[in-house]
């Protein structure tokens, strides 16, 4: 595959491949971001 064919949205197969990869990254980055946001909001205690 090439970058061109990856972003070719003509067939359902291509679209679903792209959506699947995007969905995976979106969920993972989203979760990481949510945890990071919680981290920034929690006060660190002196160890």
């Amino acid at each position: 595959m090439t970058w061109q064919s990856l972003f070719n949205l003509s067939t359902m197969e291509h679209r679903h491949l792209l959506f699947a990869y995007i969905a995976v990254w979106a969920v993972q980055i989203g979760y990481l971001g949510w945890v990071a946001w919680g981290w920034s909001r929690t006060k660190g205690t002196r160890r």
Binding site: M1, T2, S5, L6, M12, E13, H14, R15, H16, L17, F19, A20, Y21, A23, V24, V27, Q28, Y31, L32, V35, A36, G38, W39, T42, K43, G44, T45, R47
Partner: protein
């Protein structure tokens, strides 16, 4: 116990290493792995779907062990129990992340390849039920008063650990429609596809460990902040009574 600075450095290194592995995995999966003969390029979802699905079956058992540890330490050593509980919560959330991804990518792949979004065979049903059980786990933790929520959630974890294999075996015995396991006879995956698969498996395993430990650290931070707040409140009330 490593000093916080060391932990931070290791964490960041791990993060960048993970991204690197995932980048290699992505390149392998999209550009290098050969196009599958019958299914075409949509088969490349496999390289993200299967590692995620596999991780989705590992973290529930982390949660199970942490829950057992919590139940064991609950009366004997409350501080250790709290740590176990934090790990249980972190692994439960990560389970849901990976199982959701497994379900979504699986459905996208199935729709494109075989025309159906879903079928009630052994694997898919078990996977869906695993998802439901862990959603219930998180809901229970959110909707019950603290103190008992940890224990009740741990009980659910035990049920889930017992139930998931039973669900799988019972439906498996009934029928199956999922493509026959690619690894069952140890070699149905074409050798040229192994690198892409292994890079992604390693990458997502590293990522899963990273986010679980990050979530664990966050939970510990919150627990410690709570404890300190409680301590401050007690000291304040002691002083006013003098």
């Amino acid at each position: 116990m490593p000093r916080p600075a060391t932990t931070r450095i290791v964490a960041w290194l791990w993060f960048f290493a993970t991204l690197a592995v995932l980048a290699v995995g992505f390149r392998q999966a999209i550009f290098i792995a050969p196009t599958e003969a019958t299914m075409g390029n949509v088969q490349r979802i496999f390289y993200y779907h299967v590692p995620s699905a596999m991780m989705g079956l590992v973290f529930p058992y982390v949660n199970f062990i942490a829950s057992l540890a919590y139940l064991y330490w609950r009366r004997r050593d409350p501080l250790k129990a709290l740590t176990a509980d934090a790990l249980a919560l972190a692994s439960a959330e990560v389970t849901i992340v990976f199982v959701s991804i497994g379900l979504m990518t699986g459905m996208l792949w199935a729709r494109a390849s075989w025309g159906i979004w879903w079928t009630w065979d052994a694997r898919l049903t078990t996977y869906l039920l695993l998802w439901l059980l862990y959603v219930s786990y998180l809901l229970l933790r959110r909707f019950s008063s603290t103190g008992e929520s940890h224990t009740l959630a741990a009980v659910i974890s035990v049920f889930a650990a017992v139930d998931v294999p039973i669900v799988f075996m019972s439906i498996q015995w009934w029928r199956t429609q999922h493509p026959s396991p690619v690894f069952a006879d140890g070699g149905s995956l074409d050798p040229s596809m192994w690198p892409a698969f292994l890079w992604n498996l390693a990458g997502w395993a590293m990522w899963g460990t990273l986010i679980m430990l990050f979530r664990f650290a966050l939970e510990r931070r919150r627990q410690l902040a709570e404890q300190e707040a409680a301590l401050v409140a007690i000291e304040a009330s002691l002083e006013t009574h003098q």
